[in-house]
């Protein structure tokens, strides 16, 4: 059939045999799973057997774009990459923007499946209809930046889009990333190690084809309304200027930063050194992903000090929280340099900074010493942090142990178990739930990929208040009424999630909805930054996808596809051995009293009660969190 919106083909490459197959996109899959994360969940759940070695030839790596990618719908640029994760042993998945996905679509493919293992290092070159597996040659051993430059030079195409691994991926560091161009990445859950295990250095793409629109008039009207909705967000201008650095101050004020590996929620001198207030000295302009009006990333130029001359796209809150709070690195230029190092090695900044923070705490508490490291490693030590990252990426000395992530590493250092702050093997990030209890922080334990903050988020996250009117069960809604009114959300769910009188948000219900909503975004290829997440929902998505693809997809179909995707990933995790007790916070949050006044450890009974309510809201068994047969029948899985 002729597809609109979708490219209509899936590229399926087996590196063991060297075969390249082009398959038609099944319409049924497009309707039921939309694209991106949905496709990956559907494919991997069907094809990966229990007992598969994440770093063996039987693991499958899938990249899927969404139907909206390659159009001018704001922020429609994103590609989901997924495989069995070497970090968690469960569903590994990461989402990235930039231009790679748009290029793949224009080359004619919605998805790329990579199987097997090449005997020698190779890279894949996709130029429209021509797909080749070529020897990696001198690319192997290069860091991500140098490898991208070399591919572009060899191919004589300075703008070729390249997904690539650095040394960390080659050495199968369990939190290695796949870099997406120089400064973006499919970062979390160790997908770079999967690429490395397949002896695959890079996937370079160039596409010159086009994407057709089924019903141009309807699509164009939906596009105008989408633009208007996003531009009307109270976050729009602020996000254009500060990007995710907007979170740098509120989370300090909540006392919820992971300071010194979660020993303090308010690192010293934070406000003077590591917030959006210091940003203007480093950057005064944004750089964008394809089709995005927000341009949330900053072009950074360090003018003076030890890192003078450094230029890169950075100053997202991720490295600022990870290195700045977690390791207590005290200046934005040093943090920018560290994030550049992670980009070159190809390592997830969240897990990499968590590993350094874990090691610093072991050093502080005397579990390891200078003799184990070869140098001292006090909190905030920049030189030691660079050295340790290099040792991890190249698996040298203690770095070889840390390359397994903090869960595995803690087994080698008795007494360090409580310093490993992870859920399901994935290091936690951003907010300490003892300082800030919200849909967002509760989401660490329900998240399909482990201790992470990007798969569950109240679309109307409120940074004004930090109250929990009904402890653990509600958070306060603090945005203007018009934001609440325009929230694009099924009406009966809206009623269940918000109490309009008390202005409380029901966390279990909101968690379910936000997970489904974010799954929709990750499937259609849209970005979840706040100005978009709380203005665009099933109603607009239905109009956009129907106008674009000509497949009639109702708002209910859209919402159901999100829920179907989340449930499919849950089934994948259960199939691969996830246990109910893994959906829980690490011991530190229950046992340790934070240094900041007024903060208490979490109450395990209250957490369990709220988790049960969440399972009920999902239609899952309230004790075990297993989807019930009725729910699966409803979703047609």
């Amino acid at each position: 059939m002729t597809f609109y919106g979708y490219a209509g083909s899936i590229l399926d490459i087996d590196l063991t045999s060297g075969t390249v197959r082009k398959k038609d996109l099944p319409e049924e899959m497009a309707r039921r799973y939309l694209g991106g994360l949905g496709f990956n969940a559907n494919i991997l759940y069907r094809e990966l057997n229990p007992g598969t070695d994440p770093l063996g030839p039987d693991n499958i790596l899938v990249f899927s774009t969404g139907p909206l990618v390659g159009t001018s719908v704001p922020t429609a640029c994103r590609t989901e990459a997924s495989a069995l994760s070497p970090a968690t042993g469960l569903f590994g998945t990461a989402n990235s923007g930039n231009y790679w996905g748009g290029e793949l679509k224009c080359a004619g493919y919605d998805a790329l499946i990579i199987r097997g293992r090449s005997e020698k290092p190779v890279f894949i070159r996709i130029c429209d209809g021509s797909v080749e597996i070529l020897p990696a040659g001198r690319l192997w051993g290069k860091d991500a930046w140098d490898a991208i430059k070399a591919v572009r030079k060899d191919q004589g195409d300075s703008e070729m889009q390249v997904a690539v691994i650095g040394q960390a991926g080659e050495n199968m560091v369990r939190f290695a990333s796949i870099e997406n161009g120089p400064f973006d990445a499919w970062a979390r859950t160790g997908l770079g190690a999967v690429m490395g295990s397949k002896n695959l250095k890079a996937v370079a793409v160039r596409g010159t084809g086009g994407i057709k629109v089924a019903r141009p008039k309807d699509f164009s009207a939906a596009l105008d309304d989408t633009r208007r909705a996003i531009n009307s967000s109270p976050f729009y201008e602020a996000f254009k200027r500060f990007g995710t650095m907007l979170a740098s101050i509120p989370y300090y004020e909540f006392g919820s930063l992971p300071g010194r590996n979660y020993q303090t929620g308010r690192p010293e001198n934070w406000m003077e050194t590591r917030t959006r207030k210091q940003l203007p000295g480093l950057s005064n302009r944004g750089v964008s992903c394809q089709a995005c009006p927000i341009a949330c990333a900053h072009w950074v130029r360090v003018k003076d000090g030890p890192y003078a001359g450094l230029e890169l796209k950075d100053m997202e809150v991720t490295p600022v929280i990870g290195f700045g709070a977690g390791c207590d690195i005290g200046s934005l230029p040093a943090i920018a340099a560290l994030s550049g190092a992670c980009q070159r090695y190809g390592m997830d900044m969240v897990s990499a900074s968590a590993c350094v923070a874990f090691t610093m705490e072991m050093y502080q508490k005397g579990i390891i010493s200078r003799d184990d490291l070869g140098f001292d490693l006090p909190w905030g030590d920049e030189e030691g942090t660079f050295k340790l990252l290099d040792m991890i990426a190249n698996r040298r000395g203690i770095g070889n142990i840390l390359a397994g992530g903090t869960r595995l590493a803690s087994a080698s250092f008795p007494g360090s178990e409580v310093f490993s702050v992870h859920v399901k093997g994935l290091e936690c990030f951003l907010a300490d739930p003892r300082g800030r209890w919200s849909t967002w922080t509760f989401g660490y334990i329900t998240n399909i990929r482990g201790g992470d903050h990007l798969r569950t988020r109240n679309p109307v996250e409120n940074l004004k208040y930090n109250d929990n009117p009904v402890p653990y069960r509600t958070e306060k809604f603090g945005l203007p009424d018009r934001v609440y009114e325009s929230l694009d959300m099924p009406p009966e769910l809206k009623k269940a999630a918000f109490d309009p009188d008390s202005r409380d948000v029901n966390i279990p219900v909101m968690s379910k909805w936000s997970e489904d909503l974010i799954s929709i975004y990750n499937s259609l290829g849209m970005c979840i930054r706040p100005p978009v997440l709380h203005t665009v929902g099933p109603a607009l998505f239905s109009r956009l996808t129907t106008g674009l693809t000509g497949l009639d997809i109702s708002p209910e179909d859209i919402a159901l596809a999100g829920e179907r995707t989340w449930n499919t990933v849950k089934l994948f995790n259960l199939k691969h051995g996830e246990k109910p007790e893994q959906s829980d916070f690490p011991p530190r949050f229950y046992r340790d009293r934070p240094a900041d006044p007024g903060k208490e450890p979490l109450d395990p009974g209250a957490v369990k009660a709220v988790l049960g309510e969440y399972y009920r809201a999902r239609g899952w068994d309230p004790e075990t969190g297993v989807p019930t047969p009725e729910k699966l029948a409803e979703l047609g899985i």
């Binding site: 390659g70 159009t71 001018s72 231009y99 748009g102 224009c106 930046w145 430059k149 300075s158 703008e159 161009g181 120089p182 400064f183 596409g207 010159t208 084809g209 086009g210 994407i211 057709k212 629109v213 141009p216 302009r285 944004g286 750089v287 964008s288 992903c289 394809q290 089709a291 995005c292 009006p293 341009a295 072009w299 230029e311 890169l312 796209k313």
Partner: protein, 81 residues
């Protein structure tokens, strides 16, 4: 009144919305490689070049879609000669 497209490359964020919009308007599909405007991305330097091809029809759709003000449609008062 005559219209002119004003270009300020330093404001360009590289989003390519202009070339996507141009190709949709003038070629009937989203296809940056067939647009009459080209954004060259020098991503390692964080710089973008805006190049109009000689085939540009001057319709201004690209400028209307630009979110950063890097290309802008302005009206020229004829009297100023």
């Amino acid at each position: 009144m005559a219209k002119e497209i004003l270009i300020k490359p330093s404001l360009c964020t590289g989003c390519s919305t202009c070339s996507l919009a141009c190709s949709m308007q003038n070629r009937g599909e989203f296809c940056p490689s067939r647009a009459h405007i080209r954004i060259t991305k020098m991503d390692f330097e964080g710089r973008f070049e805006i190049i109009f091809s000689s085939s540009c029809r001057g319709c201004g759709i690209c400028a209307k879609s630009c979110p950063s003000g890097a290309i802008k449609l302005i009206e020229l008062p004829e009297a100023a000669g």
